[in-house]
């Protein structure tokens, strides 16, 4: 079987055709950015692109994708960070970070086809990616920031969301 990952061709002649792409990436090619979370396409941690569209690699047997182009988080930005990756850092999105490669692949695919998504567009595109730590509000903020760059606007800094009140006396009891 032939597989092109991040622009590089691989021959996987001995691989089990049933093997999901996820395990081929992780165990055979050493690309571990895509994560195993559920194995049944419920959580999205394994999201990669197949010919530019986001797919759940845990449910995609190698036999089904021979000769097609796979993009993983490792290849998303090329030599630089992709604007979505930059926005993820600027908004300090991650807690444990385990789901975030999958989140970023879904978000980048969304912006690739829809550079100025509405709230509903974002909800629709991201509903398949679980974040067990609950970073959803930062994910939305980061997508909105990255979309500015997709629209050719300047990148702006992380929004200040939490308020900090000074110590005693400010809140009346």
């Amino acid at each position: 079987m032939q597989l092109s990952v991040n622009g590089k061709a691989h021959e996987l002649n001995d691989a089990d055709p049933d093997m999901p792409l996820l395990w081929a990436l992780r165990d055979l090619l050493g690309l571990v950015g895509a994560k195993y979370g559920c194995g049944v396409a419920q959580c999205g941690a394994c999201t990669v692109w197949l010919d530019g569209a986001p797919v759940r690699s845990c449910q995609l047997p190698l036999a089904a994708i021979s000769g097609r182009e796979v993009t993983t988080i490792e290849g998303l930005g090329g030599d630089a960070l992709h604007p979505v990756q930059e926005a993820w850092i600027a908004h300090d999105v991650a807690q444990c970070g385990y789901c975030q490669a999958g989140q970023i692949m879904s978000a980048a695919a969304l912006l690739q086809r829809n550079p100025n998504p509405s709230s509903e567009d974002i909800e629709g595109a991201m509903a398949g990616n679980i974040c067990r730590c609950g970073t959803y509000s930062r994910i939305v903020a980061a997508i909105n920031t990255a979309s500015k760059q997709f629209q050719g606007l300047s990148f702006y800094e992380v929004g200040q969301e939490a308020t900090v009140s000074a110590s005693d006396g400010e809140v009346s009891v």
Partner: protein, 737 residues
């Protein structure tokens, strides 16, 4: 969480190290921004190493499973060191109790326990740099000061970078007790600011930093199949057929221990019996499970049925008092006899699973004389000690490397999967990566214990609380206090606030393993107590906010100077702040409601208001949640806020439809389609307000979770008039949309 070998390092234990001895490089994984070059470096203490090129390496001692301590703890050191944070590289410390004390992630204790130690480490390292400069320049130490990463002598205008000074500074004696002055909070440059997670860059690029990513030379892959009926062990299996499958290197039975495992983190060396399948890759091992046939011995296995447990518990909780008296203050019988009115309610919560997103995995290399493991354990020290005990090896023969974990929530406190990996590795004589499937993870958790609360309040004519009864029912395998199920908390409501209090407990027999789940005890206790307080306010026609404020009694700190005890001044402040932020009392359209919850746990005072709407089909939309908290000082504003936002999401997620049910000793749910986690479209808008104060910082990982369920359930009541006394709320017919 018990405290281990040392509460941080005492001054006399200051030992200098020429390097941090990071063995993690051998795993071929990057450790955050771990020592990427071998440039000469100088260590001032176990936490601070300064490279000649100006980079400042700070060791992060405790496991990070998403709670942000790999950023927060080094920030504390950097603040007192006066390091330029941009020049700081964080490395994961080796697991070594002699150098780093108790290295664990639990109880929201990392920041709280290490606050003094780490400030001292930063400050003494800074002092050594200052003294070294003073000597070199022939200037009095008192005339010197620091700017980030450099020492200045204002009278002469001289300055030198930390990097220029560090080699000589290592020759300085370690400053004695009282010789360093810690910074005043007003002088902080870093603490309290928004700092991006030290692992953020690695995370967004998919770099191999998680436990599941570890790979070592000659490593093979394994899966381990256990009896679905918890505690069963294999008698026979079709091992030869498995070994004939492509990619399978070996398959064998591990006799193991029959019966359910214990959650005793210190002592348990339980290894559940099972079938190990070893393969050349993970997929081959997982696929081979389809062909596996096992004859199980279930003589010692659990026969639990969760509906039967629930029926027994609810029956017990209907009694005003239970089998064991926990507290009896005043005259509760008299209070109830003489009450003007009595309000009662029985609250129920189910078993839940942790469902951290990274299923358990561990790389182990065990030989006859030594064991090396790479694990995302929350208690790597116990991984080490229980491996030593199990394999009858000295502790020095066990090397444990900490690796970032994809979520914890208490699931990685136990180390049974570490032992399983070591057992398999020793048998095959090779390093192995044991990979649990999601289904394994859901079937073999240490679940949050179900808990049931029979609550009664005696009230005066004016609606004042005169008596309080709480009969707590939880589950136990041996009739003893359940593992973190539900229990009495001292120095908290209703102690010394309500004059007559009776708290008792009854245990229902269960063999299903239970353990700590985020904010143990508080996560269920808060739901019952804070919902019930709203019931009382409603029954007596009082505004919930005003009633709650009054119910806290007079201004006092229950145990002065103990951060783990309730301070009613701080409590009332957060209740006032959150109700102000949410415009408490405003008019809302029909079907919409605001609900309030307050809880003090993990040294954090947290109040929350939820705004929900409920339609005729009992669909609940959680629109917004306001949070006000007093955690004392904030170390990393971005990190603490993230923990709080996440706690709210976790709270909604758990209350919506998370429930583990058990039949014939086996868990019925297998994966996320039967155990749903909250998704982005259901996630509410969240506002977090930290009322900072000069108190030392307390942990942010847990205390925002307990108030979520009562705030939402109280809001549902205010929206539609139905009181929810059961979690998850799906069992009362509600659905979060």
């Amino acid at each position: 969480m018990s405290r281990g070998a040392g509460e941080g390092m005492k001054r006399r234990d200051f030992i200098r190290y020429s390097s941090f001895g990071l063995a993690l490089g051998s795993a071929g994984i990057s450790v955050l921004a771990a020592a990427k070059t071998s440039a000469p470096a100088n260590s001032l203490n176990p936490y601070v190493m300064i490279h000649d090129d100006g980079r400042i390496v700070i060791a992060a001692p405790n496991p990070d499973v998403g709670q942000g301590v790999n950023t927060a703890l080094p920030m504390i050191v950097a603040e007192e060191l006066d390091a330029d944070w941009q020049a700081v590289e964080v490395v994961l410390a080796p697991i070594d109790a002699n150098r780093y004390g108790a290295q664990f992630a639990g109880g929201s204790l990392s920041v709280r326990n290490r606050w003094n130690e780490l400030r001292q480490m930063g400050a003494t390292a800074r002092e050594m740099l200052l003294r070294s400069a003073a000597q070199q320049w022939g200037a009095p130490r008192t005339e010197l000061t620091t700017q980030p990463s450099k020492v200045l002598h204002p009278p002469s205008g001289r300055s030198a970078s930390f990097a220029e000074l560090v080699a000589a500074a290592t020759e300085q004696p370690v400053p004695a007790d009282g010789e360093v002055v810690l910074k005043a909070r007003a002088d902080y440059r870093l603490l309290g600011q928004r700092v991006v997670n030290a692992a953020a860059s690695d995370i967004v690029q998919g770099r191999p930093i998680f436990g599941i990513d570890v790979a070592v030379p000659d490593m093979v892959y394994a899966t381990y199949v256990k009896c679905p009926q918890i505690g069963g062990v294999p008698k026979t299996a079709n091992l030869e057929a498995l070994k004939a499958l492509p990619g399978i290197l070996d398959a064998f039975i591990v006799k193991g221990d029959a019966g359910p495992p214990s959650f005793d983190l210190r002592k348990s060396i339980h290894v559940a019996g099972g079938v190990a399948i070893v393969a050349s890759n993970t997929w081959a091992a997982i696929k081979a499970r389809r062909s596996l046939q096992v004859d199980w011995d279930i003589s010692a296995a659990s026969t639990d049925d969760s509906l039967a447990i629930e029926a027994a518990a609810l029956s017990a909780a209907g009694r005003p008092t239970g089998d064991h008296e926990v507290k009896n203050a005043g005259d509760s019988e008299g209070a109830f006899t003489n009450a003007s009115s009595i309000v009662s309610g029985v609250y129920a919560t189910d078993f839940v699973s942790h469902a951290q997103l990274e299923p358990q995995s561990c790389v182990a290399h065990a030989t006859a004389t030594a064991i090396e493991v790479w694990t995302s354990s929350q208690t790597p020290g116990f991984a080490q000690s229980t491996l030593a005990k199990l394999f009858e090896l000295p502790a020095e023969a066990i090397t444990v490397h900490q690796v970032r974990g994809g979520g914890g929530f208490g699931r990685r406190l136990s180390n049974e999967y570490v032992r399983e990996a070591a057992v398999i590795s020793k048998r095959i004589g090779k390093p192995v990566k044991l990979q649990w499937t999601r289904e394994d993870d859901m079937a073999f958790d240490f679940y949050r214990s179900p808990a049931y609360f029979g609550l009664q309040a005696a009230l005066s004519e004016t609606g004042k609380l005169t008596g309080w009864r709480n009969h707590v029912v939880s589950v136990s395998s041996d009739g003893e206090e359940a593992n973190y199920g539900a229990g009495y908390r001292g120095y908290n409501f209703p102690d010394d606030v309500v004059p007559n209090v009776h708290i008792s407990q009854t245990m229902v027999a269960s063999k299903t393993p239970t353990g700590a789940w985020r904010a143990p005890i508080s996560n269920v206790y808060a739901f019952a107590e804070q919902s019930f307080l709203h019931e009382i306010a409603d029954a007596t026609g009082q505004d919930h906010r005003d009633f709650l404020m009054a119910a806290l009694g007079e201004d006092k700190w229950f145990k002065p100077d103990d951060l783990a005890s309730l301070n009613t001044v701080r409590a009332r402040k957060v209740i006032a702040a959150v109700t102000q932020a949410a415009s408490w009392g405003r008019a809302l359209p029909k079907g919409r409601g605001l609900g309030l919850g307050f809880f003090f746990s993990h040294a954090g005072h947290v109040a929350e208001v939820a705004e929900v709407s409920v339609n005729a089909d009992k669909q609940v939309t959680v629109h917004e949640v306001w949070v006000a908290a007093d955690l004392g000082q904030i170390v990393n504003l971005s990190g603490a806020e993230n923990q709080f936002q996440g706690s709210v999401v976790d709270g909604v997620s758990a209350l919506a439809d998370q429930r583990i049910s058990i039949r014939s000793g086996a868990i019925e749910q297998t994966n996320f389609h039967q155990y749903p986690l909250l998704r982005l479209p259901q996630s509410p808008k969240i506002h977090v307000d930290f009322l900072t104060s000069d108190y030392p910082p307390s942990g942010a990982g847990e205390p925002a979770l307990p108030p979520v369920a009562p705030a939402i359930c109280n809001a549902v009541f205010n929206a539609c008039g139905e009181r929810i006394r059961t979690l998850p709320i799906s069992r009362a017919g509600f659905k979060v949309v």
